[in-house]
Amino acid sequence: MVGTKQSGVVIPLNVKKIRADFPILAREVHPGIPLVYLDSAATSQKPEAVIESMAEYYRKYNANIHRAVHTLAEEATGLYEGAREKVAEWIGAERPQEIIFTRNATEAINLVAQSWGSIRLRSGDIVLLTEMEHHSNLVPWQILAEARNLRLEFVPLTGNGELDLAAYDKLLGQSPKLVALTQMSNVLGTINPIREIVRSAHRAGAKVLIDAAQSVPHMAVNVRELDADFLAFSAHKMCGPTGIGALYGKTDILREMPPFLGGGDMIRKVEWRSFEPNDLPYTFEAGTPAIAEAVGWGAAIDYLRAIGMSSIHQHEQDVTAYALRRLQEIPGLTILGPGVEKRGGLVAFAMEGIHPHDIAQILDSIGVAVRSGHHCTMPLHTKLNLSATTRASFYLYTLPEEIDVMISGLLKAQKLFA
């Protein structure tokens, strides 16, 4: 059942074989109870190849980069810059200099807000967000709005959790300077029609920042096809390590932006009272970066590329369709978000009479890891009139049988609270 068509050829995903690449999937959560990991939207698990690449880096190559002339430093620099090239290629950037390594997608968004915002946003300007944004693409703009007296506007949602595009077009009529939105909602699962959204934004004279934290790990994303001005994403949701993420920016835009953090590596020349900033992308990378993590991210990209993003996406679609079907069998359960054709690999839901924390605790007792809470989208939950939801999220290693385990746990919870 799991497979994908690529130029007419079906490439099946061998999930059993893939699972053997992830050591953690073999562990038990409680004695005799294996892990059923359904929380990949929070962070993905890591394959042995990634873990090993980082250990090997520390065993053989560890040195600080860019400055020293010794052999280790040169090798470490090569590995770090090699990772940048892989990340650039992964999202279709024109050149590696358009990739700025950050701690995560959140820091990437903050970088745009503080740096680009400082030269391009003035009192009264509008930043257009949507009602499905994660706090990471909301709070940085709130901070900036407070400091610079900006106006934040929000594209509303339709009843089934999609963006109201008619309302969006109307809001563009107010000439926002920036549209900042997620490509895929971490709660509703909605995949937004991002290419059309970018096109209309550009026609209205706005730049576009895409929060791709949930999309880049699960589907092929190409910044040039999308014509994105900025794209923010993290390694740890795509089989890579925590502690590293990236901001993609178009060269012309990055060139005019002032530095974000000051320190070593981001300078060309320093005097007592002044400095000259370094070239792209180093001008935005102050201090010793996450070198081993960059190496690990490169290994994660190699790993995902060898499997193929279209196969991974198709597998997740199949698992999600199955999960939706099974969840619909449970009475008193409300599923958030649109149908499978407009949705990525996650499902958030609410069960009548049982709080998500109780559901998550009961599921944990049978080894199932899900997320419960507001998933860093408090305003969205308030709008939906829910204080919290339970979310199951999937990846290339998720088996349909794991959905069955979750369903049995949900029925158990219902019985307990009946």
Binding site: H355, H357, D358, Q361, S365, G373, A388, F417
Partner: protein, 129 residues
């Protein structure tokens, strides 16, 4: 887990004895656990000697937070406000009769924190954990 959801807790969650608001009341306080969205309000009526003559809770959240609030509201009726000062984590855990992980402990202790903040101010509430 089955221990965590003992019948008493499920019963108290589904059929609380002390859920509601007191109107009028002598004391009312509300707070929430921003991490999980559990929200508890406690209303008290006291007599001239500072004895709690009626207690009620309202709010929403998980079974642990709501059952603890219900058990606590029942427990404090007839006690003096001064006695409330000596209530602690163990009081609530004894009422629940279960052990809790650090994360779930926050759910269980929310009602006690609300009670102490209402009776003595936030300073006293912070000592709960």
């Amino acid at each position: 887990m089955d221990d965590l959801y003992r019948q008493q807790i499920i019963d108290r969650y589904k059929h609380p004895l002390k859920r509601g608001e007191l109107d009028p009341h002598d004391l009312s306080y509300e707070d929430e656990n921003p991490l999980c969205g559990d929200r508890i309000r406690i209303d008290l009526r006291t007599d001239a000697k500072g004895i709690i003559t009626a207690a009620a809770f309202s709010g929403d959240g998980c079974a642990i937070s709501q059952a603890s609030a219900d058990l606590l509201a029942e427990y404090i009726e007839g006690k003096s406000l001064e006695e409330i000062r000596s209530l602690n984590k163990e009081t609530v855990l004894d009422l629940l009769g279960i052990e809790l992980s650090p994360i779930r402990l926050k759910c269980a202790l929310l009602s006690l924190k609300v009670l102490k903040a209402g009776a003595y101010g936030l300073e006293e509430a912070r000592k709960v954990e």
